[in-house]
């Protein structure tokens, strides 16, 4: 490993030196501990118990404490601690519940000194008193903590955590008599060593087990805890109630936490599962680790700072059977790799963009968007702190809103609300939807609906509806995107001329003769839409740069244009000209009359003339490929609303032709959009009408509604209206005092309510609850 070759010297006072290095152990480690002078480290695990000397060049095995032929569970260590006063003294916690002390000064090979077997379950933690030589504390799975005097054969006092397993015990660094214990149920208790009958204080620190805790080496009131809920919390214990002052969210359950010496705000953590790295956090910067050590290949089980006053050396043992010494300067700094840029789209097309300030400042003068755009620069200022070694990055956040009045997504909401997807005959649905689209200035969508009606309707009774349609069409002054943009007529002229050549080519393809001129016109218009659309927009852009609406038009133009072209080639029934004619200066009155053909009529005209090619009544299946192509086109353009609506309205006519996955995908996208816009009813209707199994089961989940009785406040267990506890009608309307069987509206503040209409009436006149409970109810 390349890192290891780097020779380094300790930066602080040259007291200890070393480099990043590691050695292989024979077995996974469970815990490690260093002796006070930082020259030796002990590694303990289920099948290992060894002492290594920390030399400059590497680890050197000094002693194997697992002696004897018989495998003993007393050697199977869950935890180990080296005494910080007495350099020959060690203690281990065994998985079988034994607490063992070891004296390295013993002359024989077996260094075991004392064996305490008072715990009935695995001992999770042992801890020596920081200043008292003979005092040892243990915490066990059986819920007890025991304090041993090493001069005696048994424990001197037992502390009961009330049957919950103890995960960690730590003597306070500063208060002689105090120790903290963390528990599997999420609690942390503070005890006075002289009072074994009752804890001094208890608070809930985490949800789920608290695996570890550590007192701050300098600040007497600070306790760091780490739990299975993936959090590290720092508590201030000096106040009456333990106060959470910092909270760091990690990505995995926290197995160990250790304050970094000489750095007030830093602590190291490692996790119990999945994540193998060791993180050093600055608790004031909880979102990104200050430093990371990524050497281990399996979970890190033990971490310890090599010397109590040296912040640069960290030792770690791991399940991957290695023991590491990490140099702080070799740590990776995630903050350097972090990308301080961010980009996000809002629901209504707003855009938020954050970038390094330095990058942004160059562009401030440029004003990339003017006029309708507003720019909100938001700066997050933090006071630069000299003690904080974090790289200072400040980002500027800009929010770009779409111009007011542009309301780019309005059409989506309105369309979603007004479309009819079921409940009427097919032709009426299409017609209705076509009208909706037309009202919203989406002629192309409208046309699509109309054509769908034509294609799939029963050809027997088209006349009435088409007449009806005709009159409607004639009356409605339909505007298309061009009029919106207030295009100059000059531009139109120019384009018309450009078109001429194309038209002639196309004409030859058409075998309509008498209608030639008319079709030509329509072709022209259509061609204008597609062919030159982009060019026009570019022009527009340069002309009206600040007009946000222009940008919107850019979206809608090609999307409306494209499928038309196909349809014209297949069946030259383009209703598009209709919408153009009123504005076209070249159209005479009679022409206008003629163009007011309904699509239906033009279709029949053409089908007569082209009867050589096609039978007069085409079966709906004939159109399927076209319709499918159309649906796919809409979906690809981002108008998944259209795709799904057509899919639902056409139902079985088209459903089988499109594969399930695609349909599901469309549905999901549309439902997602609807829910973002909080169009719950529409979304539910779509789910209900969908034929995909995966979709329709969406609204079969979470269908339970739990209610409490309004009288006795107990949960209602019965269906029906009578609470079976207090035998009263539970859902009585506060206004009319009758039982509400139907939509019930109630106040979340005072839980009174009643018939929707009654409550609405009541609150129109009064702001207080109709039940006279004095609550000011609000109806929104």
């Amino acid at each position: 490993m390349a890192v290891m070759e780097k020779m380094t010297r300790a930066s602080s006072g040259g007291m200890i030196s070393g480099r990043t290095m590691f050695c292989h152990l024979d077995a996974p480690a469970n815990a490690i501990s260093v002796c006070r002078d930082a020259t030796q480290v002990v590694v303990a695990g289920r099948n290992i118990f060894k002492i290594f000397a920390l030399e400059d060049e590497g680890f050197v095995e000094r002693l194997n404490l697992r002696v004897g032929r018989k495998p003993s569970l007393n050697f199977s260590c869950a935890d180990v601690m080296w005494h910080q006063m007495e350099e020959n003294l060690l203690a281990t916690a065994a998985t079988n519940g034994a607490v063992v002390t070891w004296n390295l000064g013993r002359p024989c090979r077996n260094k075991q000194e004392q064996l305490f077997t008072e715990h009935k379950r695995t001992v999770n933690k042992v801890c020596f008193h920081p200043t008292e030589v003979h005092m040892l504390l243990s915490g066990s799975q059986d819920g007890y903590m025991k304090c041993f005097d090493l001069r005696k054969k048994e424990s001197v006092s037992t502390f009961s955590g009330q049957s919950e397993s103890v995960r960690d015990v730590q003597f306070s660094m500063k208060d002689y008599f105090t120790f903290a214990a963390s528990f599997e149920n999420g609690n942390v208790q503070l005890w006075d060593i002289r009072r074994p009958d009752r804890y001094e204080r208890m608070f809930t620190a985490h949800t789920g087990p608290v695996f570890c805790c550590d007192w701050h080496p300098e600040d007497r009131g600070w306790l760091a805890t780490g739990g299975r809920d993936k959090m590290v919390k720092v508590w201030d214990m000096t106040t009456n109630r333990a106060k959470e002052i910092f909270c760091v969210q990690t990505i995995a359950s926290v197995a160990r936490v250790k304050w970094r010496p000489e750095r007030k705000w830093h602590l190291a953590t490692c996790s119990m599962m999945v994540d193998h790295n060791i993180y050093v956090w600055d608790v004031r910067r909880p979102y990104i680790p200050f430093a990371t050590f990524e050497e281990h290949k399996d979970v890190t089980t033990g971490i310890v700072w090599r010397h109590q006053h040296d912040p640069d050396f960290l030792l770690s043992g791991s399940k991957d059977s290695t023991l590491y010494q990490h140099m702080f300067k070799d740590a990776s700094r995630p903050v350097d790799r972090a990308n301080p840029e961010g980009l996000c789209f809002g629901l209504f097309g707003d855009l938020a963009f954050a970038a390094k300030e330095s990058l942004m400042s160059g562009e401030v003068g440029r004003k990339p968007y003017a006029g309708g755009d507003r720019r909100y620069p938001i700066f997050f200022f933090k006071k630069p702190d000299v003690t904080e070694q974090f790289a200072q990055v400040s980002s500027a956040l800009s929010v770009f809103e779409t111009a007011p009045g542009g309301a780019p997504m309005d059409w989506f909401i309105k369309t979603a609300r007004r479309y009819l997807l079921s409940g009427r005959p097919f032709a009426e649905l299409c017609e209705h939807n076509a009208k909706v689209a037309k009202d919203l200035n989406r002629p192309q969508v409208s046309t699509t609906w109309t054509m769908l009606r034509i294609m799939f309707s029963d050809p027997a009774n088209p006349s009435s509806s088409s007449n009806h349609n005709l009159s409607k069409l004639g009356n409605l002054p339909l505007m298309n995107s061009f009029s919106m943009k207030e295009m100059s007529s000059a531009l139109t002229e120019r384009n018309k001329e450009n078109r001429q050549d194309n038209i002639h080519n196309l004409d030859s393809n058409l075998n309509t003769t008498e209608d030639n001129e008319e079709t030509e016109g329509s072709e022209g218009q259509a061609e204008y839409l597609f062919g030159d659309a982009e060019l026009d927009d570019d022009d527009l852009y340069s002309m009206e740069h600040e007009n946000q609406a222009a940008e919107e038009a850019e979206f809608s133009l090609p999307q409306e244009a494209f499928p038309l072209r196909h349809e014209i080639v297949d069946h030259p029934s383009a209703p598009e000209p209709l919408t153009e004619k009123p504005e076209s200066p070249h159209v005479s009155g009679s022409e206008a009359e003629a163009t007011c053909l309904t699509p239906m009529e033009s279709f029949s005209l053409i089908s007569v003339s082209s009867s050589l090619l096609f039978p007069p009544h085409l079966p709906p299946a004939f159109f399927s490929p076209v319709v499918i192509a159309m649906l796919r086109y809409y979906a690809e353009q981002g108008d998944v609303q259209m795709a799904v609506s057509v899919l639902i309205v056409l139902g079985d006519r088209i459903r089988r032709e499109i594969d399930e996955l695609t349909q599901e995908h469309w549905y999901m996208s549309y439902i997602d959009l609807l829910q973002r816009f909080e169009l719950w009813n529409v979304s539910n209707e779509v789910i209900k009408l969908s034929t995909c199994g995966a979709i329709s089961c969406l609204n079969q989940a979470s269908t339970t509604l739990h209610i409490n009785c309004s009288n006795c406040k107990r949960p209602m267990n019965n269906r029906g209206w009578i609470c079976d506890r207090c035998h009263q009608c539970a859902s009585v309307c506060a206004v009319c005092h009758h039982v509400v069987k139907g939509v019930f509206v109630w106040c979340q503040g005072c839980s009174h309510g009643g018939h929707l209409t009654h409550i609405m009436d009541w609150l129109r006149n009064s702001t207080y609850c109709p039940a006279a409970c004095g609550h000011q109810c609000e109806y929104t």
């Binding site: 289920r46 299975r228 119990m272 599962m273 999945v274 193998h276 199994g693 089961c697 989940a701 269906r719």
Partner: protein, 469 residues
Amino acid sequence: MTAVTADPFSSSDPYKICAVCQKVTKNKERGTRVPEPFCSGPSAFIPEEEILEAWLEDPPAELLLADQLDHLTQVMGLHPHYLKAFLRCQFYLLKMDGPLPLHYRHYIAIMAAARHQCWYLVRAHMREFYRRAVCLDWLKGLQFSDQKLQKLNEINKILAHRPWLITKEHIQALVKTGESSWSLAELVHAVVLLAHFHALASFVFGSGINPETPSSISLYCTCDPTGDEEETEFHSFFSTSPENEPEALMETMKRLQEEREREEEEASEEEMFTRFEKEKKESLLVGSGDFDKEVMSFSRVSRFVEDSDFGYKDFARHGEDNPPTFRAQDYSWEDHGFSLVNRLYSDIGHLLEDRFQTACDLTYYNMASHEGVDTSMLRRALFNYVHCMYGIRYDDYDYGEVNQLLERSLKVYIKTVTCYPERTTRRMYDSYWHQFRHSEKVHVNLLLMEARMQAELLYALRAITRYMT
């Protein structure tokens, strides 16, 4: 809608061929001494009145919502506190948001229950599957189902019968990219479902749950799997069993407790080790060896089972390479299992933990007719004995206790219910703890179920962890 072959919901044959003794049993012909199973009512082992009584006494209120309770719920309702945790967890597994589509979940339930030929559960989930009304032809059999589910069969059978064999290679095979591969989240969901329904099958057989549609014959054969020749021994046990059984048990517990307190001589490590090994080995002897030739082909669930020969084999066999003992301290539910399962399938960890804890801590402080008894030692013995049979060892447990607390007939029952529940009989159920209440025996079943589920989960999750690292 495609029609499913035959009608799966009714069996017209008046004869039941017992999977164990392979005798055609006509209801009437069987002996007089052995009590007949109850054909109606929720359980074949427990008189209906007893269950109803418990329900009337203390109706678990939430459940009255349901118009018709299935028999399983009724029996489990003897312990309403646990039932709540159980139903919440099962509901979350089957109905709430999760990585797997709903019909997959029921199909996995069918697959899992079919491994133990648990027709009760298979039928229930076939119904649920019908209701989803998708992919109905899957019900024709496993080979008609999705490729993805067929791939799951491998770990299904391993987890059902010999969970210690699961390795990270199995996980790799399922997760590796390609068509019909599993995501880790889906896999964890599936594994929890499998473990849940394997264990639930144990409960169903252990408590003799009757199908809801009343039929004249019971699913539960009255035969004794140990064979007729042992019947005499069986009955001699009856006679020798002391009248004051609960008292004796309490006596033992008291003595053990005192021994603990006195802790005169600590058993040596070796001694502890041999005690564990002894229990492990002894678990081989109880029960009745191999049933390799089990015939399943005629059973109604066989179409959901592939590789039906794969059955339970004892964890520890003489003279064979045993898989290494699973050390509970190295991979525990609280520390490791929970974190992993919750990470990949959010919230399920809490629900499972709730279940485990409720089942383990459940006590009414009474035993048979005695009150104010601390049963924690007995509960722990039951739980750890199941884990012991699966090769999971607790360093801090003295397996000598198991031997003293659990009588042989109970061990036979435990072994049968956890390892091959389909062979459970009324006689086994009746043969232990004569003076105990039925609800206490159901409590035993709950413990067995949860212990088994946890053991399966631990093995599976350990394999997933190893795959991930």
